[in-house]
């Protein structure tokens, strides 16, 4: 009780818990992720014409534009697409330009290359952008001003547009009404080529090339390439070298045996044969992307066991293609990148073991560097990349390649050394759970339980035996002590992550297992700044499944992964990432004890329904159907593990308001689109009783409505419709507290009875089931997309409401004190209310900058935030995921049970030693003095 009071006092003194400066970047971590970079839209580029160093630009598969410093892999800027646009993500940049142009869905945007500010944006309504090129030259003259963009539209309104490079305005539009499928656009100094896939009623698809005038956009010429019956689908068409002197289009047959290449603008088709031997799985064309470079290109052949390549030269005058030389076939996987320097073209071959550079003119190797592997890239092979080469006097002196590896790491290899790796496979996490490690304590508890069943003597022997067996670990433990003490005093100790988790006194080291959209599973140690402990690709366990949004559940020692497209589930060991067969797991039933049955609930056809013991009875025992026209958008249940330290709230006059603590509370949110109403329903999930309702009018139901429930309170937030005629508009946060009775020192009809049931009849006077609900609403400055509550071990520490703010890319922890629905309205709090920590109600809650958990980090695309208790009561672990990954720990009532970083252990030890020494010195003096005084008196 006194402890509680002390806590309440601490909370009153400083209700705002902030991230301390010396804690920032130590207790928290942030992965600012992009996603897997796309091959054709990743390039080195100088951010402005006179810049000395170049940056690495990319657009990822989830259409996030990112710019990375090639030196250290740090993010310079990024822009995440706010919506999942259809069509490919494209990113192009003209030579010597200070902007980069991107296209995603129906948006074409130009960004300042050095800081990522928006220069212009154009939307093409009702169409998606299929391709985007920069018009480098016009009539053979390079435009030094902003270069125009050529956009290929598809899906609805096929056509080509030329956009002004400065403003984004349309200069001309060429509309294609032939019904062809737009495929690519390419520019040459004099012509724009629009390539489409013509599919006649009978027969195979044909490639149709339309040449357009760059100035007017008028059709100059059109021809169809006689492709016979080779082209079956888009996947078999290869394209390379847009914007070059000789843009190429190529296609292969189904077996990848014959390669046919056409120089766009000519009608001739050259046929080449793939190397015989191993069947070729994939053919990739690599060509330079500069207008003034040599018209050379490389064809890469990938087989199941290795890869090889041929280099071809294009004779522009004769419009012929001839093979120049072949690069030897190598075992294992690898990739090629193209880079230019003036007119010269260099090809860099990157494998997991070495990097070699050759010139496009001859097959002599200009430079060779063995790659020193790192643990992060173990077992992975390069998928694609881009390179920058420095060649002096016919030998490559330096090469750096940004390579995407097969395990999802994006890394830069500088002269054979791995300069940095970015764990891009972690982006777009759809589900995350706190891993439960198999606990030793539990085993101990079982052993102790076993003793209870025996008679006294055998139990005693059992106990002694166990102690003797435990002595085995004693020498190792003794040996470990100096290390651990030293590690404690000096700083970090060298331990592997799993060991760290086992030896963790404070419980900060916890494993979070995350799964991404694509089915990549990873374990991160939240305590050691989000270190990736292991990561695996789930596709290796079920090659046929395409994962869409897998979900997970954690059990002791393993996680269960489920996906809509997956039959059954996959079980993965939490500590190693290894597959566990379902036979090895003793399937533990849910928490229901013997003689009890469990009621579960789920959303069925838009109604919330409760079931008795899911397996045996498919029929609902209760159903909740919202009023006609309403649609359930979400429901939130009280967390299974939600410890409450005090069953009452002590008022200023020492009376107590008893909390309504029902473990089965479910908060259901519904909306009606037509009347712009949002309602919340509080249900008891055991009986289906409706405990509380409230509905709000003039709500913008298209915006997210987030809600959470914990202890004896729940909260939700919504947006008031901007067209409504209410007295105030904006974003609102509602917080409700439930008590057993409106009167202090009254436990309501249930009294102090230890058990209560919502199913069995009650003998109390009055309606037992209903809580007394206190509500208050506040305006908040920003929209909340998700909310959750901190969790601590015993629930003594006051809670914090963690809200995700998508508009400012942050996570804010609102102290419970600030959103207490008992704040006095329209008057100052009385002395008693003040002693409770209540302050006067203000209609607006401003998010104190000190409440922001993310301080300098920008958290983009946060989908969900999960919390967990740590080993100590004061602290709760927080983990946020989505596009980015962020983890931190919060102490809502301050870290009252742990020494801060500012505590100097060495100084304390020195002080103790100094005191001891002084005592040694002083003791004889004192003794002598005492003896003397005895003799003299």
């Amino acid at each position: 009780m006194r402890f509680d009071a002390a806590l309440a006092l601490a909370a009153c003194l400083a209700p705002a818990a902030a991230v301390f400066e010396d804690d920032a970047h130590h207790i928290d971590f942030h992965y600012a992720l992009l996603g897997l970079p796309k091959h054709d839209a990743t390039f080195f580029q100088k951010p402005f014409a006179g810049s000395k160093a170049s940056l690495l630009y990319t657009i990822s598969q989830n259409q996030t534009i990112g710019v990375v410093n090639p030196k250290d892999g740090a993010l310079v800027w990024r822009q995440a697409s706010s919506h999942d646009g259809a069509g490919p993500g494209l990113l192009r940049s003209g030579e010597g330009q200070d902007t980069v142009v991107s296209a995603a869905g129906d948006r074409i945007s130009a960004w300042s290359a050095s800081d990522g500010r928006l220069v212009w944006e154009t939307r093409v309504a009702g169409a998606t952008v299929e391709d985007l090129e920069i018009l480098e030259q016009e009539d053979g003259i390079t435009d030094t001003e902003a270069k125009d963009a050529i956009v290929l539209l598809g899906n609805g309104k096929p056509g080509v547009k030329r956009l002004d490079g400065k403003t984004g305005r349309t200069k001309w539009t060429f509309e294609d009404a032939s019904g062809d499928t737009p495929f690519q656009v390419s520019t040459s100094p004099t012509t724009i080529y629009y390539i489409s896939l013509h599919t006649p009623m009978i027969g195979a698809s044909k490639l149709r090339v339309t040449s357009l005038s760059p100035i007017t956009g008028k059709k100059l010429d059109q021809y169809t390439l006689s492709s016979d019956s080779d082209i079956q689908s888009r996947e078999h068409i290869l394209f390379a070298g847009a914007n070059t002197a000789a843009p190429l289009i190529a296609w292969t047959d189904v077996a990848n045996k014959v390669l046919k290449i056409n120089i766009i603008g000519t009608k001739g088709v050259s046929t080449f044969h793939a190397p015989s031997g191993e069947p070729v799985e994939r053919i990739i064309l690599h060509a330079p992307d500069r207008v003034n470079s040599l018209a050379h290109f490389l064809v890469e052949y990938q087989t199941a066991v290795g890869h090889s390549a041929d280099v071809y030269h294009v004779d522009l005058k004769k419009s012929t293609i001839s093979k120049a030389y072949s690069l030897p076939a190598l075992k294992g996987k690898g990739t090629f990148t193209t880079s230019t320097s003036d007119a010269n073209v260099y090809f860099t071959r990157v494998t997991a073991e070495e990097v070699t550079v050759v010139s496009s003119v001859s097959h002599g190797v200009l430079g060779r560097w063995p790659v020193r592997g790192t643990p992060a890239l173990a077992g992975a092979y390069p998928v694609h990349g881009t390179s920058e080469v420095v060649v002096k006097a016919d030998s490559a002196t330096a090469v750096r390649s940004a390579i995407l590896f097969s395990n999802g790491q994006w890394s830069l290899i500088r002269n054979g050394e791995i300069a940095w790796t970015r764990p891009e496979f972690l982006s777009r996490v759809v589900s995350a759970v706190w891993a439960e490690l198999p606990e030793e304590e539990e085993a101990l508890a079982h052993k102790l339980e076993a003793e209870g069943d025996r008679n006294l003597v055998s139990a005693y022997i059992h106990r002694v035996e166990r102690h003797i067996r435990d002595l085995e670990h004693f020498p190792a433990w003794l040996q470990n002590i100096p290390n651990r003490v030293l590690g404690n005093v000096i700083g970090k100790s060298e331990e592997s992550a799993i060991e760290e988790i086992h030896h963790d006194t404070f419980g900060f080291h916890k494993l979070v297992i995350v799964v991404t959209e694509r089915g990549r599973l990873a374990a991160l140690d939240v305590g050691s700044k989000g270190k990736v402990v292991w990561h695996i690709d789930l596709n290796q366990f079920s090659p046929k499944t395409t994962f869409h949004s897998p979900s997970m559940r954690a059990f002791a020692g393993y996680v269960e992964v489920k996906d809509a497209s997956l039959e059954g589930s996959i079980y993965i060991n939490s500590t190693t990432g290894g597959l566990i067969s379902s036979q090895d797991i003793e399937v533990r039933s849910n928490v229901a004890a013997e003689g009890q049955s469990l009621i579960s609930f789920d959303l069925v056809d838009g109604d919330l329904e409760g079931f008795l013991d899911t397996k045996s009875s498919p029929e609902a025992i209760w159903t909740f159907e919202p009023p006609k026209g309403e649609r359930i958008i979400s429901y939130t249940a009280r967390p299974v593990k939600d410890p409450v330290a005090s069953i009452g709230k002590v008022l200023g006059d020492r009376r107590v308001l008893y909390k309504y603590l029902n473990p089965n509370l479910v908060l259901v949110t519904t909306v009606v689109e037509s009347s712009r109403t949002a309602s919340v329903y509080l249900l008891d999930s055991a009986s289906g009783q409706l405990l509380h309702t409230s509905s709000h009018r003039d709500v913008d139901v298209s915006r997210p409505i987030s809600s959470t429930i914990s202890e004896n309170w729940f909260s939700y937030s919504f947006t008031i419709d901007s067209k409504s005629a209410t007295s105030s508009r904006g974003y609102q946060l509602v917080v409700a507290e439930m008590y057993e009775s409106p009167l202090p020192d009254d436990r309501g009809p249930l009294g102090a009875s230890p058990n209560a049931s919502t199913l069995q009849p009650s003998e109390g006077n009055g309606d037992a089931a209903k809580p007394h609900v206190l509500l208050q609403t506040w305006h908040i400055p920003e929209e909340i997309s998700h909310m959750t509550v901190t969790q601590t071990r015993q629930g003594i520490t006051s809670r914090e409401l963690l809200v995700t703010l998508p508009a400012s890319n942050s996570i804010v922890g609102i102290p419970r004190q600030a959103i207490d629905p008992r704040r006095p309205i329209g008057r100052d709090p009385t002395a008693q209310e003040q002693s409770e920590g209540l302050t006067k109600y203000t209609p607006m809650i401003l998010f104190d900058p000190k409440w922001h958990l993310n301080h300098k980090y920008e958290l983009i695309g946060v989908k969900n935030v999960i919390t967990s208790e740590s080993g100590i009561e004061s602290t709760s672990l927080v983990f946020a995921y989505g596009l980015d990954i962020f983890g931190t720990r919060v102490a809502p009532s301050f870290a009252f049970d742990i020494l801060g970083k500012g505590f100097n252990k060495v100084q304390m030890l020195l002080t103790v030693v100094a005191l001891f020494v002084s005592v040694l010195f002083v003791a004889p003096l004192v003794q002598r003095k005492q003896i003397n005084s005895l003799w003299t008196t």
Binding site: E619, T623, P627, K628, S687, A769, T777, W778, G826
Partner: protein, 187 residues
């Protein structure tokens, strides 16, 4: 005016609904299900406007029940035949309890959920009816805007106190002093 009120009257009152009861189908255990299909339990008349309801008829479920038997108390949709409601123990229908039916109605007065609770029965009725309208959610309590007059000053200045109101205590003191001083002067 009166006529229009009279015309509106029949619309406002007299909604009626039937609460049904049926048992939860037998699970793996051997307990049989005494009421396999919904049977009427109570007939309730209610007026959503005044939140008043009255019981028309009540037929308690009969059969061999044990407290483990679970009964579903529900409203049924006449069109789709679906039901919505809560679950309670069969023991709730014992005579020693007061049963309370809670009918949750939406803004239009349509019932959408039923609740059921029991409490100790004293001399009162065995059945209680409660009609609960969906409450409006709380709104932020805004501060009052400051209204200025044409001169740009606060309009409702507090009226000036009169001389007497302001200095009554000084006068009183003066009078008291006069009395006291006068008394001593006589001596």
């Amino acid at each position: 005016m009166l006529l229009s009120k009279l015309l509106l009257l029949p619309v406002a009152v007299a909604s009626s609904l039937t609460v049904y009861v049926h048992s939860v189908p037998a699970a793996a255990s051997s307990k049989a299900a005494p009421i396999p299909s919904p049977i009427p339990l109570a007939q309730i008349d209610y007026d959503a406007a005044t939140s008043a309801g009255s019981l028309t008829s009540y037929t308690p479920p009969t059969g061999a029940f044990t407290p483990e038997h679970l009964l579903r108390i529900c409203l049924t949709d006449s069109k789709s035949g679906s039901w919505r409601g809560v679950v309670t123990s069969a023991a709730s229908f014992g005579e020693q309890y007061t049963k309370k039916f809670t009918i949750h109605v939406d803004d239009k007065g349509e019932p959408y959920h039923v609740g059921f609770g029991t409490s100790a029965r004293d001399a009162g009725d065995e059945i209680m009816i409660e009609i609960v309208k969906r409450g409006a959610g709380p709104k932020p309590v805004l501060n009052k805007p400051i209204v200025l007059n044409a001169e740009g000053k606060l309009d409702d200045k507090e009226p000036e106190k009169t001389f007497l109101q302001k200095y009554w205590w000084a006068i009183g003191l003066f009078v008291l002093v006069q009395f006291v001083a006068g008394g001593s002067g006589d001596k």
